[in-house]
Symmetry: C2
Subunit: 221 residues, 2 copies
DNA sequence: TAGCTAACGTACTGGTTCGTACATTAGGGC
DNA sequence: GCCCTAATGTACGAACCAGTACGTTAGCTA
């Protein structure tokens, strides 16, 4: 998030295209995450900015393109976080566990992003398809996983037949589900998956699961 | 699904409250799953039934209650499927693997249900909360897991410190993510998680993962 | 400092959409 | 065969909502 919440300091430019655009994007992110694509109201987004609805159409063209821009920014944030990833000095087991923990933490800290991804899936990822940026964004995390996996498989530590994309899916599944489905899961099973007291338990559980899978003794198979 | 698609056989009752209600529910299930709660149109649902919009309000009261009824029916279907579950004659390891496979298959076969759950989570599970049925529906699967887990832990086969709810979350995560996020995952990583050729691979992967986690040698920890 | 354009605001519109008032009829009970 | 009511259909309204026509001004540039 670009976090534009300065109270319009005096002396600053009154007209500031970049700031106006960024402010619209931030408010739109919250509004789309809160209510979904169809539930979000362009008028409401405009009302919560220091500008008017006219500017949304001026800068983005329409509701559809605004949502695409929101997704682009949101995916940009994880990509940046993934680029900070520095685990390759660790041994493969520790590196994978660390990677899982970082993914876990990131999902927990960005529930809005999770909601946007859920919403985009309801719409068949059509906005990602419409975006020029998002198609070729790549994933730094995937490259990291690829290298750790290769090293672990070479040394014989990892026995599982997975590639980086599979492993990424496995780790993401757990992290994503925990945040995305916390409401229905809580309502049906009476357990809050994101409760603070359970955080360490689930964080450890994820690491244990992934490591157990990768290092399992498959002699008997 | 109650699947009301009989072509109005002649000789049948013209006025049939039960059939009209069921038909509305089925069409509404498709429409809500397709477009989300706010994206769904009451007029469109009515148009696709053999009755009119008036009947939706007559039987359900409104859009909100209709969606709740759709959820109630959809959750009823899994509960029924879970009651068919017959794995307790197997040894704990085989039983858990079988359970994972059944969950995997069920998610794959009911993408509409997955979408409805995603949509309900976007809305904070407020319709489940508003439902009298859904709160106390329970989960037959949870009881089964509880018994298998107890037996596996007693015999020392299972070493992991999980309860039934945790394990259910772990299995569901993978199955749910694979179906729910297939669009964004496919668009970003170029891999279709529900492609037929990969089905067996992922089904095995899930079982391996869960078993590896449950039976991992934790002596070194 | 004149003027030009990017940036911004106001007010409106046309279509949509949930919901309902009112009218009608099928068909079971007696 | 009559009557009563559950079930159904029609037509409409009022609010909402994405998008736009038109007018204005800040502030850089020559």
């Amino acid at each position: 998030m670009t976090s534009v919440d300065e109270p319009a300091r005096p002396g600053e430019r009154i007209r500031d295209a970049a700031r106006t655009r960024a402010e619209i994007l931030d408010v739109a992110t919250q509004e789309f995450a809160r209510a979904g694509y169809d539930g979000a109201r362009v008028d409401d987004i405009a009302a919560r900015t220091r500008t008017t609805k006219r500017m949304i159409y001026y800068y983005f063209g329409g509701k559809e393109q605004l949502f695409t821009a929101v997704l682009e920014q949101a995916y940009g944030v994880i990509r940046e976080a993934e680029q900070q990833l520095d685990v390759e000095h660790l041994d493969p087991v520790a590196a994978i566990r660390r990677l899982a923990e970082v993914t876990f933490d990131h999902h927990e800290q960005h529930p809005d992003f999770i909601r946007l991804v859920s919403i985009e899936n309801i719409h068949g990822a059509e906005h990602i398809a419409a975006s020029e940026k998002l198609g070729k964004i790549g994933s730094p995390a995937l490259d990291v996983i690829r290298r750790i996996l290769a090293s672990g498989q070479e040394s014989g530590l990892f026995t599982a037949d997975v590639d980086a994309v599979d492993l990424h899916a496995m780790i993401s599944s757990f992290c994503f589900f925990r945040v995305a489905n916390r409401h229905t899961f809580g309502a049906l099973f009476g357990r809050d998956l994101v409760a603070a007291e359970q955080r360490e338990h689930y964080r450890t559980m994820l690491g244990d699961m992934v490591i157990a899978y990768l290092t399992a003794d498959r002699a008997a198979d």
